[in-house]
């Protein structure tokens, strides 16, 4: 027998285009459950995008199966519908108050059915980490039968430098591929702001544009036997000649209820700035190196830091602060942004150590003292303050006061990059309002676009005076901006309610719009939900700031149910199917830990290699635990463990979970397209890695690291590293590192010569 590196998954980490994973497996297996059809309907306008995905899976075995449906949501998306078809019956999800949902969920479980429960926004990091992944158990999937699954979500569309990107996360993570027997995509993009340069950026999707005007694009595709190897993405730009025009969208459905308010959305594409900002900048980067940042959050923050530092100009100055329970400065004072100094700083960061606590106040205090004119304080953190001031009600006012105490010229613009699903946005967002920018990157998001947009704003200033004025004031209520600081080239927008039909006047900067607020208009059906989400966000912020109050909670629950989206106070119950995390199995080692509901009085684990282990209940932790040794001949891979759970009434529940044995780091073999390069030239990197590899990164001295992506045609992961134009000629190495989901790493260095 051997002690093993074992990882348990209750929920697969594998998240992408909706996949249905056989219940006893960790990864999709088309030999068991194949994806027959996928249809994606995309409706986008200036309000955002609605995506409806319908998928049909086929059970290719002679047994009834259960499966885990997993869908990776974009960061700001909200699920508005989920349904499973049971034969001809569509079983749709409903929004319920969280407590009620949990009660029903338990009742259904006692009837030996598996209800689906989607919750989000838990403060526990283990739970919140998964809030961007929609996951549900789907049972039964009849032998040789099919199962139809539908999911609909809404998301905002960001505009940066007059460009908008619409990405649907269909690319499989973990460097695997998923195929569908047939794929349909229909897309309709409507915009009141004139659009141009509509472009498909994902080349593997043969999208055909069927209609295109300045305000409308229609496109579609239908293709058999399609392999998802990249996200679906399109981008477009807004016509610079038609910027600074205020557009108003309205919606009202007040049939039978004259008190029902109407909704409006005002938006305007700001003209791009014509003057380049060349003034030297003083940039202080604060990197959170506390324990809560371990793994992806730290790596993303480091990546942001590296990108930030490498984007500095020689005339700029910088410093780096690494903080946790302690605060460490790279240099005592701001230092010139030369390449050697930047490399030194990055090496220094890598030599820092994680510590348990987070003293955000102390770090900010040191950061504020570092700044000079045209200063930027760039905070890379999850905001989980544990030492010093830690509550938003004390930390945020303290920061505002400390910032205001500085001479006006030395007040740094506060750029905050919040990382991780559990980021304390209630602390970080208000800080960024001090003439800064807030961005939040969650675990399931492709970070590139957001990171680029975030860093691109360093050196730029938000457009002054961008605020919405409405008239008559007493006919409008509850107006919320949908962004913090409007920059040139972006599209600031506001949503609000109007009380009565009539004339409404709107103005932003010099742009004015006078529209009829209709008595009934169903033209923009997404508007009420967009407004409700903004209202709920404001209420949640108020609760964070001032504590819970009954009225706010009741309103959140009411809005959530009425407009169908999940909040921290409600749950999405897709009864009577599917399952979400009533039991938690923690990763890391050959210790099996099961969290059950209180009615369970015994848990026994039956391992595939014959070991039967009753688990011990640890009352302090409210968890069942045992550990085991796997036989020496048990190969690396996914293995089942069956759990028998008995409740007080003697009812026995059987659950099958899987654990992964990864006793070897992933293998990686890398190649470059040639051996010698000139400065500024791209280096094409091709890597062949074990199936277990989760990420593959190529690094070259002085260059931004590049994440290699799976390419079906080359049957390898590929990417391109651009050699910095100022890199001294000589012999270098491209280091290619593969990491598996257990965070095992292995790397290979490939030499290359750089010529002038």
């Amino acid at each position: 027998m051997r002690p093993l590196l074992v990882i348990f998954f209750l929920l697969p980490v594998w998240a992408d285009v909706g996949v249905l994973i056989p219940g006893d497996k960790q990864l999709p297996d088309p030999a068991v459950l194949s994806l027959e059809e996928t249809s994606v309907d995309i409706n986008a306008d200036q309000n955002g995008v609605r995506v409806l995905i319908r998928q049909i899976f086929r059970n290719r075995t002679n047994a009834n199966l259960e499966g885990n449906y997993v869908f990776s949501l974009p960061g700001t998306a909200i699920v508005s519908d989920f349904a499973v078809w049971d034969g001809p019956t569509r079983i749709a999800g409903v929004i319920l108050e969280r407590k009620r949902a949990e009660e029903i969920y338990k009742d259904i479980r006692l009837q030996s059915l598996d209800p689906g429960l989607l919750q989000m926004g838990e403060r526990d990091s283990d739970q919140a980490q998964r809030s961007a992944i929609f996951s549900a158990r789907v049972v039964p999937i009849p032998a040789y039968g099919t199962k139809r699954v539908e999911i609909e979500y809404h998301d905002r569309l960001a505009v940066e430098t007059l460009a908008s990107l619409l990405a649907i996360p269909l690319r499989p993570s973990a460097y695997k591929s998923v195929s569908t027997g047939r794929l349909w995509v229909t897309m309709e993009l409507k915009s009141k702001h004139a659009i141009k340069n509509f472009e498909l950026i994902s080349k593997t999707y043969p999208l055909k544009v069927t209609e295109q005007t300045a305000n409308l694009v229609k496109a579609s595709l239908e293709v058999p036997n399609f392999t998802f190897s990249e996200d679906f993405g399109v981008k477009w730009t807004y016509d610079p000649a038609k910027t600074n025009q205020l557009e108003i969208a309205t919606y009202r459905d007040a049939l039978g209820n004259p008190a029902e308010p109407g909704f409006f959305r005002a938006s305007m594409v700001l003209a791009p700035s014509t003057s380049a900002d060349t003034a030297p900048r003083n940039v202080v980067a604060l990197l959170d190196a506390s324990l809560s940042m371990q793994w992806e959050k730290l790596e993303l923050s480091y990546r942001a830091l590296e990108t930030l530092l490498r984007s500095l100009r020689p005339a700029d100055k910088f410093n780096v602060i690494v903080f946790n329970s302690q605060v460490a400065l790279f240099q005592p004072n701001l230092t010139a942004a030369s390449t050697p100094e930047i490399e030194k700083a990055l090496t220094w960061v890598k030599s820092s150590r994680l510590r348990g606590g987070t003293n955000l106040k102390a770090a900010l205090e040191v950061g504020l003292n570092q700044n000079g004119p045209n200063g930027y304080l760039v905070l890379l953190t999850d905001g989980g303050a544990t030492e010093g001031l830690s509550h938003p009600s004390t930390l945020v006012p303290w920061y505002e006061a400390a910032w205001n105490k500085l001479p006006v010229a030395n007040r740094p613009r506060t750029f905050v990059l919040a990382v991780g699903d559990d980021a304390s946005t209630n602390i970080l967002k208000p800080m960024a309002r001090l003439n800064g920018v807030f961005e939040w990157i969650r675990s399931t998001e492709a970070a590139d676009f957001k990171l680029a947009a975030f860093l691109n704003k360093i050196g730029k200033k938000p457009t002054d005076g961008v605020s919405l004025t409405v008239d008559p004031k007493n006919n409008f209520d509850l107006i919320y901006p949908l962004q913090d600081a409007p920059y040139s080239g972006t599209m600031p927008a506001w949503v609000g309610q109007y009380k009565k039909p009539g004339r409404g006047n709107f103005s932003v900067l010099n742009a004015k719009a006078s529209v009829t607020l209709p008595e009934r208009s169903l033209d923009n059906p997404q508007l009420p939900r967009t407004w409700a989400k903004a209202r709920v966000d404001a209420l949640l912020e108020k609760i964070d700031r001032e504590g819970e109050d009954k009225a706010s909670i009741q309103e959140i629950i009411r809005l959530s149910r009425k407009y169908k989206f999940v909040t921290p106070y409600t749950s999405f119950l897709a009864a009577p199917r599917a399952l979400l995390r009533p039991r938690l199995i923690r990763p890391g080692d050959p210790v099996l830990r099961i969290h059950t509901d209180p009615s369970i009085v015994s848990v026994v684990a039956l391992f595939s290699f014959g070991v039967v282990k009753p688990l011990k209940f640890l009352s302090g932790e409210n968890v069942w635990q045992t550990r085991f040794l796997a036989p020496t001949d048990l190969p690396d891979g996914t293995h089942p463990v069956r759990l028998l759970l008995r409740d007080r009434e003697g009812r026995v529940y059987r659950e099958q979970k899987t654990f992964v044995i990864l006793s070897k780091p992933p293998l990686v073999r890398a190649k470059l397209d040639k051996a010698t390069y000139h400065r500024g030239e791209p280096v094409q990197v091709k890597a062949f890695a074990s199936e277990s590899a989760r990420t593959i990164v190529a690094r070259l001295h002085g260059a931004e690291p590049v994440y290699l992506r799976w390419n079906g045609q080359t049957a390898a992961s590929i990417g391109s590293v651009t050699i910095p134009p100022d890199l001294p000629p000589g012999r270098y190495k491209v280091s290619v590192t593969a990491e598996d989901m257990a965070h095992n790493i292995s790397s290979q260095e490939v030499p290359l010569e750089i010529l002038p």
Binding site: M1, R2, P3, L5, A63, L291, Q294, L298, E299, Y302, S325, Q326, K350, S351, S352, R353, L354, R355, G356, G357, G588, D589, V591, S602, V604, L606, S608, G610, V612, K613, P614, K616, L618, S619, G620, E621, Q625, T626, R627, F628, L629, T632, R642, L644, R646, G650, R651, V652, R654, S663, K664, P665, E739, A742, H743, N744, I745, S746
Partner: protein
């Protein structure tokens, strides 16, 4: 009652012994001949010579009863680490045969009584996990040992009278011993994962771990699985009567009639053992006592004990074998017949050992808490809490008046009166809750975890992992000497100097035989590095790897199972027993004799006595007895 146990008359006379010896020798010779018949299995059969004089002395661990049998007028009870012989009248412990001493170094798994397949009378057959079977005639043991390891892991026995003894194995199917040789019953039975056997050669029922019930009838093998209605494809027990066969599973009992699946009996019950009595069926469960299923009646629960391993007939009586005692099935309720003998240790699966400054031995358990054994070895105190559970390492810190316990649930500090002074978890700054190793540093402690290393210092904790240059996050072993910390991980070795990674060694860039490092110790001027499959190598001061010429290939060293004394380096191996390196002669020797298991997991030294922990008990031996 035991008085009613039918005495088996079988006097051992010198003539019979001589005959048996002759037959044994014949069998050995036969097995050494070229195997012509492909159904034949190579084996050795020879008298077992006890290792009682080797100087190894077991520290008694709580017996976990597994099975019982009435043989030769006595009651024999098997626990994983010993076979206990009780006289019938009065019922008293007469002799014990301990694994590693009077029996081979392997856990016992099952007992069966059947006719002698050579000689006369009956024999007690004792199955082991790893050493084949022992054949006991009441006086001495003969060891039947298949040559191939998978065939030595016996899980089930069935005596079929003079037709032979059927042996079911963990992964290698079913075969037969007929007194002359071992042979396969049928090619299709060769790879089954057997859990139980019932019936005879002509009509054999086979419980399997993953394929339900196998029915071998007239040379044909068929399976009955969940698809046919069996409540579970993992079969735990079988019972057979004239008209019916019962198959116990974790989810109920399957009833077969006329060779066909009929229905599920007692659905939901974890049927670890079965017995058919005159009034119906008894089901021995894991946690719910015994379930009685009358022939025409409702299921009745008889709650009296947990984990009923076997229900065996003894004369007119039935005995229920539970973990901690044996009960006789009386009319109203089971009555305790005998309790497992008292023991010092609460468990046998040792994972860590250490002596404190007052001479007490601390023994940590793999999936339990720990025992603190008094210096006179007459008593022990058990400590088990949410955090003192699943122990990995015990570090005595006399200067701090504490014992540091590295566990799967955190780092725990206990004082000498066994009070928990502090428990540290991730919430307290550890990089992970699971602490696999701990070593003192100049200012505090260094902790190994599956997520990296944490340094525990007076001013708090600080941690590093692969992000900071560690060769892998999964750290299993640490060794510190001066400023150098050698870190053993799943992916190789990291050498830290003043907490900064100075070098990473893997099998790709060094002489390491295996990347998965499990144990490290500083010996003289170098570190000895144990790995999972690469034996032990040396890391010298210039960070070069040196090998031992006499180190066996593919040797697996258990986590942190390495101890250095002035005379020797001891390593605990997986399946190869105790490795002893004579530092003077610079040679290795491997010892299994005297150990309750060849899976050696922990060491401690007290004066000149070495304490050796295994997965199946703890033994001590004077260090001089291991010299060579």
């Amino acid at each position: 009652m035991v008085r009613k146990i039918i005495p088996i008359v079988g006097g051992i006379v010198a003539l019979a012994a001589a005959y048996i010896w002759w037959r044994t020798e014949q069998s050995i010779q036969t097995s050494k001949q070229q195997i012509r018949n492909e159904n034949q299995i190579q084996f050795t059969l020879k008298p077992w010579i006890a290792a009682s004089s080797s100087g190894f002395e077991p520290i008694s661990a709580a017996a976990t009863f597994l099975d019982a049998a009435n043989f030769s007028g006595k009651l024999y009870v098997a626990s994983s680490n010993s076979l206990l012989e009780y006289t019938a009248s009065p019922l008293a412990l007469n002799r014990s045969f301990r694994a590693g001493l009077e029996l081979p170094s392997a856990p016992i798994t099952a007992l069966a009584v059947g006719p002698a397949l050579y000689g006369t009378g009956e024999r007690l057959y004792v199955a082991t996990n790893g050493e084949g079977i022992l054949i006991f005639d009441g006086q001495s043991f003969v060891h039947l040992r298949p040559e191939q390891a998978p065939m030595r892991s016996i899980t089930a026995l069935a005596s079929t009278g003079l037709s032979g003894l059927l042996l079911g194995t963990k992964e290698a199917g079913v075969f037969r011993f007929d007194g002359h040789g071992l042979s396969w019953l049928h090619p299709n039975l060769q790879k089954l994962k057997v859990t139980a056997l019932a019936g005879d050669i002509a009509d054999l029922w086979i419980g399997t771990r993953d394929k339900g019930v196998g029915h071998f009838l007239a040379g044909q093998l068929s399976f009955i699985t969940e698809a046919e209605g069996l409540p579970d494809s993992q079969v735990l027990s079988l019972a057979i009567a004239q008209q019916a066969v019962y198959a116990g599973t974790p989810s109920g009992v399957g009833l077969f009639r006329g060779g066909k699946f009929d229905r599920v009996v007692a659905p939901g019950f974890f049927a670890r053992s079965l017995a058919i009595h005159s009034g119906g069926l008894w089901i021995g469960t894991l946690e719910e006592g015994i379930i009685n299923v009358p022939l025409n009646g409702r299921v009745q629960t008889i709650p009296f004990a947990v984990d009923v391993r076997r229900i065996v007939p003894v004369g007119p009586d039935w005995l229920a074998v539970t973990r901690s005692g044996i009960f006789i099935m009386a009319k109203s309720k089971p009555e305790l017949l005998l309790k497992a003998p008292g023991a010092i240790l609460a468990d046998g699966n040792i994972s860590a050992l250490s002596f404190d400054s007052s001479g007490r031995l601390w023994a940590g358990y793999f999936d339990k808490g720990l025992d603190v054994i008094a210096a006179d070895f007459q008593s022990a105190t058990h400590v088990e809490t949410d955090s003192v559970f699943c122990i990995n390492r015990l570090l005595v810190e006399p200067n701090r008046q504490r014992i540091t316990v590295a566990t799967a649930n955190g780092l725990v500090f206990l004082d000498s009166s066994l009070r928990i002074r502090q428990t540290l978890l991730r919430a307290n700054g550890l990089i992970a809750n699971h602490v696999t190793d701990v070593v003192p540093t100049e200012t505090g402690l260094a902790l190994a975890t599956p997520s990296g290393i944490t340094f525990l210092e007076p001013n708090g904790t600080r941690s590093l992992y692969a992000f900071h240059g560690l060769v892998s996050n999964h750290v299993y072993a640490l060794s510190r000497e001066a400023d150098q910390l050698v870190v053993g991980t799943l992916g190789g070795l990291s050498i830290l100097e003043k907490d900064t990674v100075k070098a990473n060694l893997t099998s790709a860039n060094s002489g390491l035989k295996h990347n998965w490092i499990t144990a490290i110790a500083f010996v003289g001027k170098q570190h000895y590095i144990g790995s999972y499959g690469g034996g032990v190598v040396k890391l010298n001061a210039t960070l070069q790897i040196e090998t031992f010429p006499d180190m066996p290939k593919d040797l697996i060293i258990n986590p942190n199972a390495m101890l250095v004394t002035a005379k020797a380096v001891y390593i605990g191996t997986l399946g190869r027993g105790l490795g002893v390196y004579n530092r003077k002669q610079e040679r290795w020797r491997f010892v299994e004799f005297g150990l309750p298991s060849p899976n050696v997991t922990a060491f401690a030294i007290n004066g000149d006595t070495l304490y050796i922990g295994t997965e199946n008990g703890l033994v001590r031996v004077p260090e001089k007895n291991l010299e060579f």
